[in-house]
Symmetry: C3
């Protein structure tokens, strides 16, 4: 029994479906460009087999465990590590059974489609996951995971990944990336400069992080000028490990353009934790502009992922720590927020700033008009909760009429769920082809153009925007 | 002549239409669960005939008279009771004529579909309402209303209502509910605890309401502890009259978590009207959290209907009072607003909080992510202005990919227009079946699953969420 | 080769497409009512040939040059006049080549459809614009522009324009409108009263503008009462030149209702530039209410176009000045903002206020509920970035269920791109017919009603709402 409909996500009218199918056939085998995500470089460095099915698929995937939690299953029952030392389930098979018996909860979600794709196309399963099939599917997947064909590098090649970017803290030593490079393996795994730990005063251990950054770089991070110099050096170090981009995960998109003197005074107040919440927000804002200025210097593509209210539940945070599915989007303004940065760098040749949002209302109101004017701006694909068929469709419908296709940058899988990467790219390719087919069947695009745009959205735009 | 298209609201592609039809056929005869609404218990208690067609259909329905007012018809001409004693139209037939000659204004609105359904399926009319048919339709409906088959209880049974919840003030004596219960009639009409009059200091007569609450319960509502004790007793009284839920209609979703001492000080300031607007908002916020804590205690399902700017027109309010169609939605934030309550009760076993909104932007940005994480949260159906085919479609498209189906609670008709109840449920069933059919024809759901989900959305989820 | 699909923008299902086609055929030849826009009266007064293709089509159209700029082409390279005296490209052919070689950027945008329509239907081209066809298309268009058939009045007649409104500053002498009227030409070109220069203290030269208004009208604009008297006289002067409407382009929709004394004190503070930003916003707010009161007096229809953050890029503004594609929408609230004005004028017989927004979230949340209640309110068509097929579709889907069709006012082209006017109206007619066809095929509207509504949306509603 097939778990997947071969025509999934295509239009329902026959002309649209046939054309979407043909467009998809033209791009489905293109290599995967994965310019932003959270896979672990250790996997590719060490190339050890993945652990059991539950630890591979359920335990690390917040899309999966948050849904189960929302219906009353405990994180501990799912084996999610606790922060407070309380015991959690350790039996992979029991975790898998809890997941399997609740698989109906994922009806209508992208997780369901990604999983069915993984089950069918990666693990060769032909029975649907359910309480009844829990053990059989567990055993089948577990058996495959012991084979060499399912080790990280083999999967990387099987997935036809041309390049994948991981994301590391500015303080990371990038040892795994060096190990990959030195191993002689030809898979291209690059890093991304993610300096939140030393740009955001609300990150735990900020003062300590600044001290470490000083040690690593030999710069005096006790001064604002020294801090910037340290970033400059650290960025160069990341570029040596393949990085072409930076990423910034701030609660808002606010930027600032303080004078050097003002920035120094602010930094002094912030450094030892004395600043107010407003000071800390202003500091983050200023640091985005500083990062933009460094990008103008060194050519690294800048990404802003703004608008998540992290760790919304005090109780979950206390018991399980961060990244536990309780990060909630909030309204995010980009128009006033980005103006200071754009007034400094917005017209600079060669500067690229890719914007992401968790607030869909800004697609048509703010992001498409901004990206449809400023030469540096590009729109990242639908992010997180919106990386799903309807979310993707709304993105195209909301931004294309104002910003066109060429101010967008193709797809990001943005995932730590390695096995889901082909499925995620497949969904994006199908949805884009369906959208293009719809433009053709309603007389808004020529068929020959649609083929060209399909390739652009699947492959070329991501490579060009991220300079890969 | 049929007033209704038998395939209304189904997809236009043949496969989608056939499947939607089949799904709909599987649920169209299921009993109506109406867990939240504003019908009057007096109807079922006294079982008297409804008055003339205008007073049954036009005068009490703000969906109808607001549209007529927006095109220049006066509320007085429509017989809507005035607040200032000015005379209003009393001739039902003249009111009906005004309505009939403006029936084209409702083109494209759900009101039009609900009315045509009522005319055809309840009153057996086969001519479309217009100036030309005003008198004939009036006479036909008026004649039916004199018969026993059109009395409230007969309609309740004819509508196949399994249970209906009305909404009463915390100060209500629930005499009609007792009368229904004592009558021996088997129809299940339950109440809902709506305590705004004694939780919201902006409600007219707040101080007096607190005094009455004290008298009714024998609690000292002069203290905050006494106020909470009074609520506890009153909730128990409502449960004796069938209530399984509470409902809270605040202008915002703000909650607070003050200490007992802080709450007492605030209450003292509020009680006699001395508090500022900020104090009053904080008090409402605190009372939502208090209600949540009581729900954890007593198991009543909590509902929040937030975000209406009530009585927007000073002129209409002065002349006609409240509920006159001039309540306007406003932007509403849930992420920061609900955090205090959720930090107190959000992980409590057995607690259910159902959220409603008039700000659609929060579906995908806030409500689906929150409900897709917190075990207590569920999403109410599209409310008020959004209880219509496109509004329902946007709701499903916006929330399902993040929260799935099982964090939603089926349909609420939320109406005081009794005759429209079957039509409203019918629209919801059709739209849900169309949505499910679309998921199947685009490969996102199996056909067999769609049948199960259709039943869940129509019947099971409402019963379970509201503990009916 | 046809540049356009004859069935563009119609539904893809066969029944929907056939009906949309039939509806469209019934309205496609109706005269154009253009009640709001920015064509230049000088064209019709002097009736001189338009300049070369680049200066006609590329240089003045911010939709076109902003997209090119967003992909790295400079405004100077496109011949857009500089504000700082720096030289810009003057060779129309070279500008045209830059445009042509980047024509793929417009894929999926309305600009592409408007241009292809203009190329095919106005200029008779049968090759698609590209680098390869740049010179040939330039020559073909340039040749046509030298002929009498392509002069402004001939085009006006060819376009079947029944009436077109231009927009002039309150300080304009309307000489061109007089010249048109006195010329004996029968084309109806009317003006619109746009007083931002003397209502918005943030407009450059505000104090000087007030002085000029005093001179023109003979009123003492040194007092608030004199300012209002001057507006009253000036509005009468505009009405003599055909104006039936006023237009107000404020950054927000805020209104106020100050006492005469308060308004005078505020005006004194504002007049010489001493007021704070909050004072200036309050003054704009008060002036909207003053304009509404004058509309109640003189019957002019009032329009509010709110929510644009003008001249977002300091760099572009310094080099090229205003209207250069860097106006960005921002969140706009109408509910609290309009209440003061509506409490004064909202129930006045004969008053019409047409609302426009760049914040789509307010369609269903604020504008449709407001317009579906207040008799004076009407909803303008999708504006600026939303004047495109998906934008129009979202507008109808968001507002119709609450406000119906009859609280909307048909289409505005709102353009300074004269040649695009037929194409823009054609897109609106097609999208509306497609929407209506969808209502019929899903059983929400009768076919006979759809024909009536199609005519209303195309022709009648604009004429009636704008009193033309």
């Amino acid at each position: 029994m097939a778990l997947l409909d071969d025509n999934r996500l295509f239009p329902t009218d026959s002309a649209g479906r046939a054309l979407a199918r043909a467009l998809y056939d033209s791009v489905k085998s293109l290599p995967i460009i994965s310019p932003h995500g959270h896979t672990e470089p250790r996997w590719f460095a060490e190339n050890q087999p993945f652990p059991d099915p539950a630890r591979l698929i359920v335990v690390p995937d917040h899309y999966i465990f948050r849904m189960l939690v929302s219906q009353g299953v405990g994180l501990a029952e799912l084996g999610v590590p606790s922060a407070d030392g309380a015991p959690v389930e350790t039996d992979g098979r029991r975790i898998w059974r809890r997941f399997a018996e609740n698989y109906h909860l994922f009806r209508g979600t992208p997780t369901r489609m990604w999983l069915d794709d993984t089950f069918q196309n990666l693990f060769g399963l032909d029975v649907r996951l359910s309480a009844a099939t829990a053990d059989a599917t567990y055993d089948a997947i577990a058996e495959r995971l012991t084979t060499d064909a399912f080790r990280p590098r083999a999967l990387f090649e099987r997935f036809n990944v041309e390049v994948i970017a991981t994301t590391e803290s500015a303080l990371d030593d990038l040892a795994f990336h060096r190990q990959i490079r030195d191993s002689g393996w030809t898979g291209r795994v690059i890093t991304t400069y993610r300096p939140d730990a030393v740009t955001d005063p609300d990150v735990a251990g900020f003062a300590d992080n600044l001290r470490k950054l000083g040690e690593i770089t030999g710069c005096d991070t006790g001064t604002f000028a020294g801090l910037i110099a340290a970033h400059r050096k650290r960025r160069a170090f990341f570029r040596e490990h393949g990085a072409t981009a930076t990423d910034h995960g701030h609660p808002t998109a606010r930027t600032a353009n303080l004078s050097a003197a003002e920035a120094s005074v602010l930094y002094d107040r912030i450094r030892d934790g004395a600043g107010s919440a407003a000071d800390r927000e202003l500091f983050r804002a200023q640091m985005l502009t500083e990062m933009a200025k460094l990008s103008v210097e060194d050519g690294m593509v800048m990404q802003i992922h703004a608008g998540s209210f992290r760790n919304h539940s005090d109780g979950i945070f206390a018991s399980f720590g961060r990244d536990r599915g309780f990060d909630i989007p909030q309204p995010t303004n980009y128009v006033a927020a980005l103006k200071p940065l754009l007034d400094v760098c917005g017209l600079e040749k060669g500067f690229t700033l890719i914007l992401f949002t968790l607030d869909e209302t800004v697609y048509s109101r703010e992001l498409a008009p901004l990206a449809g004017a400023y030469p540096c701006l590009r729109l990242g694909p639908p992010w997180w909760f919106f990386d799903a068929p309807e979310g993707m469709k709304r993105f195209r419908e909301a931004v294309t009429e104002t910003a066109g296709f060429y101010n967008t940058v193709g797809f990001n899988d943005d995932t730590r769920a390695f096995c889901s990467i082909p499925a995620r790219h497949d969904v994006a390719r199908r949805v884009d082809c369906a959208y293009l087919a719809g433009l053709v069947t309603t007389g808004r695009l020529l068929e020959e153009e649609a083929y060209e745009v399909a390739t652009d959205l699947t492959y070329r735009l991501a490579k060009e925007a991220y300079r890969l």
